[in-house]
Subunit: 371 residues, 2 copies
């Protein structure tokens, strides 16, 4: 499938990351690069991070213990889904493993523009989302981490207006396409404010910043890097770097996860029975007959349960390689029992996460309401 | 000349106000209306206010002593010119004569977008502009008046984002035309925030607001009235009203006052000698010969000195009618001595204004830096 335009507001499904690298100039996240990173996370180790822009600056900061930041965000339209979980766990990784100052922006101006969600409703979702990232290990100590809502963080909207003075109307239309609601373009500029916030004086001034996001967010990064260049004279901004992770297709085998198709995804707040049911009905790489599967082995590269385990729910490479992968391709296990096994990994992980999250709700509320 | 599009960012010159009323649905500011207004100002008395939108709501507030507000603003790109003076004196009129809560917005986001003027440079102009409106009699007592900069007034930019969620991209392009700098559209939405600020809870909630502006600002008012309707459910906003004053052409007879043509205008900070020189070279309604002028009389309706006196520098109707107008049309005075006479009115007025303004500079600085 040819990707002619990346759409940060949701209609893109991506199936050819090579094309993305070719057409948009995203640099490949190579094995050689991964080898140089101390304690690489599982996205790096397992090729889920397929591309980047300017990661050399971050690698240099990591290797030479220079100050740097990690920044990403969430649109607070509901509970954490698997995409939010990927990004949030990357933020926590850079904060914990490499001492990066961690920034997490709640994009409630975007959810106003894109979903007509009033700020007060967005706040309730934001508190829930914040409890999730805290449960993942995000350290909100003001010296180490900062979480904000776009609607209450004036420093972010200030940058959005400065960005607006540096981009042309043609650029906005070319990058973001034709949008009905005018405010969507504004929210794109607010996102530039989010990304550049870690480099403002209040947070210690210009520094390398890595933005780990899904591949669909690349348009935001491209325009942010250009705006950073244009504001360099005034603020000394360093162009933010980005890493891109692959985007999971629908677990039912559909092209993408979508709220309109509940069997295509699950979120972290769903009933266990529902999650279990969805996983039992997930798309796998099984063969037509049991006999054939024992003979040829399964196809983990197209199996959604394998992908869930690899992307999110199984930390140990040994288990991934020696058990889940090996038994599948050798035909030693059929999809039925494998589903049961991976489902247990998923549900155990979520159970443990919910246990941790429970204690974080009040803290999350305090963080967001104190702003 | 046919007006096909009003341009709030400056390329419009207007010579046919009837067309404006026809094409854009601006209501005429009739003599019957003026008769109902207690203590009408000279713009009302002299037909300088040619049109309005929704002034009936304001008249009702005035006549029935209901709470209402007056709001307008200035783009802080330099000293007060004659246009700024017109608007500012209208604000002071409603505050003084009718007890309106008075709001004056310094449009430094607009001067960033339209003139690439950094906020700190805009602030110096803003202090000077604020001293001007204080010298005109603006009462900055917080119960009676409020002056702010767009860049520091979050309540204004908050409304700008809400407005962005309520307008379509097509509307913005249709109303404001094709602009190179994307931020100009954003500054249009910020202006909506300025206009609706008096109706927010912090200022006592929804109320009638009159916005006295030049005819070229009508696009801002139209879109603001539409956004106010769309936000009515959420905030109870009442559609703001507007009055439109005529826009003076260049005093040298050119189509419009323009910084690119210094003989076409003067500002309140210029050397007296320069102002005098410009007035002596101003375009008048004189006849070809002195004999002809004595016989036919002059033509005040095309004379720029007459317009300056009528719009701004001669308060007494008697002097305007019985002296300046009458002696001109009766051929009793030629343009030379009349210029000397009107120039004296202008310079005396400015002298007195500067005397008052001097005392206001420190107060102005305090008001704007305290924000």
């Amino acid at each position: 499938m040819r990707i002619s335009k990346l759409d940060p507001w949701g209609s893109t499904s991506i199936s050819d990351y090579g094309k993305l690298i070719e057409e948009f100039g995203i640099e490949p996240f190579t094995e050689e690069l991964v080898k140089q990173i101390p304690r690489p996370n599982k996205f790096m180790r397992r090729g889920v991070n397929f591309g980047h822009r300017g990661f050399d600056v971050i690698l240099d900061a990591i290797l030479n213990r220079k100050s740097f930041a990690v920044m990403s965000g969430i649109k607070p339209t509901g509970a954490f889904h698997l995409g939010s979980l990927m990004t949030a766990s990357e933020i926590v990784y850079y904060q914990k493993e490499h001492g990066a100052m961690a920034f997490y922006g709640i994009a409630d101006i975007e959810s106003l523009m894109d979903n007509q969600l009033p700020y007060d409703e967005a706040l309730e979702n934001a508190i829930d989302n914040t409890a999730d990232i805290l449960a993942l290990g995000f350290d909100p100590n003001p010296k180490k981490g900062y979480i904000w809502r776009q609607s209450t963080e004036k420093r972010v909207t200030d940058i959005a207006f400065l960005a607006g003075s540096k981009v042309t109307t043609n650029q906005m239309l070319a990058i973001y396409g034709e949008r009905i609601t005018f405010g969507l373009y504004m929210s794109a500029l607010v996102q530039i404010g989010d990304i550049l916030l870690p480099e403002t004086e209040d947070f210690g001034g210009p520094k390398p910043v890595v933005v780990p996001v899904g591949a669909d967010q690349d348009p935001h990064l491209r325009v942010t890097r250009e705006v950073a260049r244009k504001l360099k004279n005034q603020f000394g901004f360093i162009e933010p770097s980005a890493t891109y992770h692959k985007i999971m297709p629908g677990i039912d085998g559909s092209e993408k996860m979508s709220k309109r198709n509940p069997m295509s995804y699950f979120d972290l707040s769903e009933d266990f029975e529902d999650i279990k049911n969805k996983l039992m009905n997930a798309f796998t790489g099984g063969r037509v007959t049991a006999e054939e599967q024992r003979r040829l082995g399964g196809q983990p590269e197209i199996c959604m349960l394998y992908m869930l385990a690899m992307y999110l729910f199984v930390e140990e490479d040994n288990i991934m390689e020696q058990v889940i992968y090996k038994e599948c391709v050798n035909g030693e296990i059929l999809c039925g029992p494998c589903k049961v096994r991976v489902t247990k990994f998923v549900l155990d992980w979520i159970k443990e996460h919910r246990r941790k999250k429970e204690k974080q709700i009040d803290i999350a509320r305090k963080i967001l309401e104190a702003e």
